[in-house]
């Protein structure tokens, strides 16, 4: 192969009427080569020979690419980094179509041939965008000139100017809407009025949703005298981290060293999540990819159990745990977390979109089930890992475990923090700091893994 390899992707090559071959596709500047396990070059694909490319996404990042050559022959490639590979091939394909044809384009072409008149989707012209942009700028300038109070308000308004604040928020919303309009390419079937209404509503509701969280954070930054000021302020005038440092001091005075609570929570969260990930994925793998007696029934039962919260089964669970001698050990928290139905459910739905041919090909190569699970399936479902991890961490981190753990040395961080929070008026500031500390961990994990979680949730549907 000439030139350097720019992209590699492992997968399966399927040529009609010949056995499947597992190997990897190495892509260079002008051509791609498929090399099988034994290092033989099976296929040399010159990009100029490609007539058509089709990509079917299998879920995750794997997909099936169908390549049709100019001489009429065709073959399929099932690649584990299929999306990247497809985009690479498409980019380097010299005779690629300028715009991919959609069903609607095809329909329009046919209708034109029949001589019907077709109404093209309405699109706003460039002038409209520019006018929107200018309008937004003018309003913003006017606002700055006439409402110098705005800046001051943003950093510490009191309720006496509450009405002004509401007006300001509305004006800012309007500016944002106009700006959004000036950049967005208009879609068909959308009226401008409707879009405008939706944007304003979204901004207002988003403010309402965020308000308690913002209030919690700003309360934790207020010094004690501002916490009890009348009327209460939204933003602290003299922001301080005293509440957090006081929290550290209080922690240092507790009977059980605070690091112990932290260690407990870390152990419980880590072991619970790791075990849940492994056990639920193993079960999800066979439920999604093999048809065996009892599998479907089992999954239906799990789906029903999605509906019951921990409290409902709490009582008999307590009895069972005490029979098993697990009360007052970490196991009482960790083992039920291993079997949480939501993790299995998400994992199974996501694994269903994995190509079965990938597994069959590995079977032919003589890989055992565990090998397939560990080195083919698991690396391909990484988005689902993150989803399982966030659900599990969320559950375990917030678990104060008051009913199943008695010894002080085994209590969790959240439990200890709640004790501080319950300390009355003098601890108001620290209580706010506790709220912020406890809520920030799941939110940060969610922000970091958002895109992968959404990818998994796309396959969360239940077919009836």
């Amino acid at each position: 192969m000439n030139g350097s390899i720019l992209l590699e992707s492992a997968g399966t090559l399927i040529i009609p009427a010949s056995p499947k071959e597992r190997g990897k596709l190495c892509m260079g500047e002008t051509e791609a080569v498929f090399i099988n396990r034994r290092g033989t070059e099976l296929l040399q694909l010159n990009y100029t020979d490609i007539d058509r490319l089709k990509n079917v996404r299998n879920g995750g990042i794997s997909s099936t690419i169908t390549v049709t050559l100019k001489d009429g022959s065709a073959f399929d490639l099932q690649l584990d980094r299929g999306l990247a590979a497809y985009e690479f091939l498409f980019k380097h394909w010299p005779s690629r179509p300028r715009e991919p044809k959609s069903r609607a384009d095809e329909y329009r072409r046919l209708a034109e041939l029949r001589g019907e008149r077709i109404q093209k989707p309405r699109r706003a012209n460039e002038k409209q965008y520019r006018n929107c942009r200018i309008a937004a700028l003018v309003i913003a300038l006017l606002l700055l000139i006439f409402d110098s109070e705005l800046i001051q308000n943003l950093f510490g308004f009191t309720l006496t100017s509450g009405f002004m604040v509401a007006i300001n928020i509305l004006i800012i919303a309007l500016i944002l809407v106009l700006l959004a309009f000036s950049f967005k390419r208009r879609k068909p079937n959308r009226s401008i009025g409707g879009d405008m209404g939706i944007y304003i509503m979204l901004i207002l509701v988003a403010c309402l949703m965020a308000f308690p969280l913002v209030f919690a954070i700003s309360s934790s930054l207020k010094p004690l005298d501002e916490l009890f000021r009348f009327p209460p302020t939204l933003f602290p005038r003299h922001a301080t981290f005293d509440n957090f440092s006081d929290l550290l001091v209080t922690m240092g005075q507790s009977w059980v060293p605070f690091s112990r609570y932290l260690l407990n929570t870390v152990i419980i969260t880590f072991v619970g999540t790791a075990g849940h990930l492994l056990i639920a994925s193993m079960a999800a793998f066979v439920l999604a990819k093999y048809d065996f007696p009892g599998g479907k029934t089992f999954f239906a039962v799990v789906t029903t159990c999605l509906m019951f919260s921990g409290y409902v089964t709490g009582i008999p669970n307590y009895v069972i745990m005490s029979k098993l001698g697990m009360i007052d050990t970490y196991w009482a928290l960790v083992l039920p977390a291993f079997a949480a139905p939501i993790g299995l459910f998400m994992m199974k739905q996501f694994m269903e979109s994995l190509p079965t041919a990938l597994i069959e090909a590995a079977h032919i190569d003589g890989a055992g089930e565990f090998r397939i699970f560990w080195s083919i399936v698991m690396p391909n479902v990484k988005p689902a890992w993150l989803t399982i991890i966030i659900f599990s961490v969320q559950g375990l981190w917030n678990n104060s475990a008051a009913t199943v753990i008695y010894s002080e040395a085994k209590k969790t961080l959240v439990y200890a923090l709640q004790q501080i929070q319950a300390g009355g008026i003098a601890r108001t500031g620290q209580a706010a700091a506790v709220t912020v500390v406890v809520m920030s961990v799941p939110i940060v994990i969610f922000i970091l893994s958002e895109s992968q979680i959404l990818e998994t949730m796309a396959s969360s549907g239940i077919k009836d």
Binding site: S102, T160, P231, A283, V302, P316, G461, D464
Partner: protein, 314 residues
Amino acid sequence: MQTKTLAGKYLRIKQRKLSYSFSKAKRMRVCYLFLAPYAILFFTFFILPMCTSIYYSFTSYNILEKPRFVGLKNYINLILQDEVFLTAVKNTFVIAVITGPVGYLLSFMFAWFINELPKWVRAVAVVVFYAPSVAANAFSIFSVIFRGDAYGYLNSILLDLGLIDAPILWLLNPQYIMTVLIIVILWMSMGTGFLSFVAGFQGIDKSMYEAGYVDGIRNRWQELYHITLPSMKPVLLFGAIMSITTAFNVSDVPRALAGYPSTDYAARTVVTHLFDYGFSRFEMGYASAIAVFLFMVMILCKKAITNGLSKVGT
């Protein structure tokens, strides 16, 4: 023996099927091996508790003594004598009927609106809407907002605007407790269902919309009804199940905000009632009867929703 009759034929087929599935099970034993760790834990901590709940619900049991069989007494007491339970059922029902469907519709609506935003705005918006339910303890801040004295945020706004002349005890006055709870629960209702809606919208084939435009769809509502809803049916079902689950299992919010027990039991829900009998009074038999009642109601609801949603967009 000749089996010429229809029944005989049926039996033979059935037999063959059974032996087939048995041999299949034998061949697929590695599958059971994979399933076993999960299945054992799941059975121990989810199925077994449910079965024992049903058993305990027919007994009188206080953990220390052996369970004593009392027949249907628990259920009869529950329905005929326990007035607090009826309050709890009423409250749970009100919360479920309001926050379930409204929360569901709100999640769907906002997921739909968010879907049309540019990518990075969408990412921020998802965090803003989902944060209240992922930060599980954040609702405790509402106890400051709805505080009963003049330092409470809401009270001071209303005093400031002159709408009230004395602070209102939002969380202690039975007249207001339910409204406050419903607001807080709605605030937290953009949960797992919301996430799966957002993802579901992104998974719809874009060319369907263009085709729909050519076929004569003229506004966003038609587009929603004829294209979007039918392609999202499985996700809609999942969201609905998640939303009944949260609506029926409300217990942390009333306990943290309205106190436990709340004034006049005004914030009592079925799950807090169960918690009271199970973990404070140790009347396990009675608490189990409440749990069984809740199982039944939720399974019925799931059935109703599955039937209802199968008619969407057809």
